[in-house]
Symmetry: C2
Subunit: 224 residues, 2 copies
């Protein structure tokens, strides 16, 4: 009986981990597709992004429920409790990454109805780094790899720098030719949404470090 219960407990933890990964894969796909649609100027990829968001929202609710149920019924130990608390926080960040992908989708919808301003400057590169950060953050979570989490956090600065560069370039465009303003504004917003995706990946890494080390690196850690 004891054995049976503890097996079920381990299954519940595995189930939570699996759902977090599924959700992470979905928001990563959403970001990838929406940027692909911008780069290829192909609006046909957008409805799929929208339908992935429905699944993300469903998982968001399910993960919170599974975590609360486990806490309520199982009284997890210190390290399992940290895992569950991290899963709940990561859940929130992933849901907001999905929101950012939808924000980018809205910019893409308007950008794809007008002629392109010019190649997308550093936006595809920002997207690549943000997606890599998210992927590494989730790998760090699954493997309890705080070292990977630390290294991933450091890449956030690259994204911030690219965002500033995109902003400066587009500002020059706008000032030179006011007819480019609406398109340039949309691209600036896309770059800010990507920056926020990288921020959420950073949050996830901080939660992983807390989970592994039992210490809070937010605000006072060597990295902030």
């Amino acid at each position: 009986m004891e054995k049976h219960t503890s097996e079920h407990y381990a299954e519940q933890l595995t189930d939570i981990r699996g759902r977090v990964l599924r959700m992470g894969g979905l928001v990563e796909q959403m970001t990838r597709r929406v940027i692909q649609s911008l780069v290829q100027r192909n609006a046909e990829l957008l409805p799929e992004v929208q339908s992935m968001e429905t699944q993300v929202n469903q998982l968001h609710i399910e993960i919170d429920e599974a975590c609360l149920e486990l806490i309520a019924l199982r009284q997890p130990t210190a390290s399992d409790l940290r895992f569950v608390a991290a899963a709940m926080k990561i859940n929130t960040d992933m849901e907001r990454i999905g929101d950012q992908a939808i924000n980018i989708l809205e910019c893409a919808e308007s950008l794809l109805t007008v002629p392109p301003l010019k190649p997308l400057i550093d936006i595809p590169r920002m997207a690549d780094i943000s997606q890599d950060m998210l992927k590494d953050a989730l790998d760090a979570f699954v493997n309890g790899d705080d070292d990977l989490a630390y290294r991933t956090i450091l890449r956030d600065d690259d994204v911030d720098q690219l965002k500033d560069q995109v902003f400066r370039e587009l500002l020059t465009y706008m000032m030179g030719d006011p007819s480019t303003i609406p398109r340039a504004m949309d691209l600036i917003l896309v770059s800010r949404h990507l920056e926020r995706i990288a921020d959420h990946a950073t949050n996830i890494c901080e939660d992983v470090i807390f989970m592994v080390k039992g210490k809070d690196v937010r605000h006072h850690g060597p990295l902030s």
Copy 2:
């Protein structure tokens, strides 16, 4: 002994509630001050906002620790667990409101070094509504008032509409006179940061409803 333990337990819950309120008061003040500094064109108010953020970051860590400790050592019942889970989520949203106030501060710093573009359009009104929403969200949390939480969520649409209006007006400005672009961009960003403060207040309300009703209104509720 039993009595003593349960008194201490009640104290811990009260302590968490108190810290959440203190942090809420701080992020509300931060938002108020930074907008005041923009309206009055008074950069002297800004250092205080920065020092409040240090306190907010400290409370952010303390609240999470207090919540995890209570869950680990006290095995809270269903409704207390929902309260603690809500406190942790609200904690995250409040910390991000503080981040938004700092983002506004950065825009203010650059706006206060140049002549004003014109009166700040609807930005002060957006700030008023966002601050009210935050205040009501925290009142709803403290009093377990899901009705107030529902009503507060509805106001988020007003903020979104004002944000779109600010954007349209400033776009017209920029297109008419490219020399206004850098200032107009800063104001557009301020309005987006305010919109995000209102979004976080909305998240807090959703957590309050979950805490009171035990049901999840995110994504599938009548309001989303």
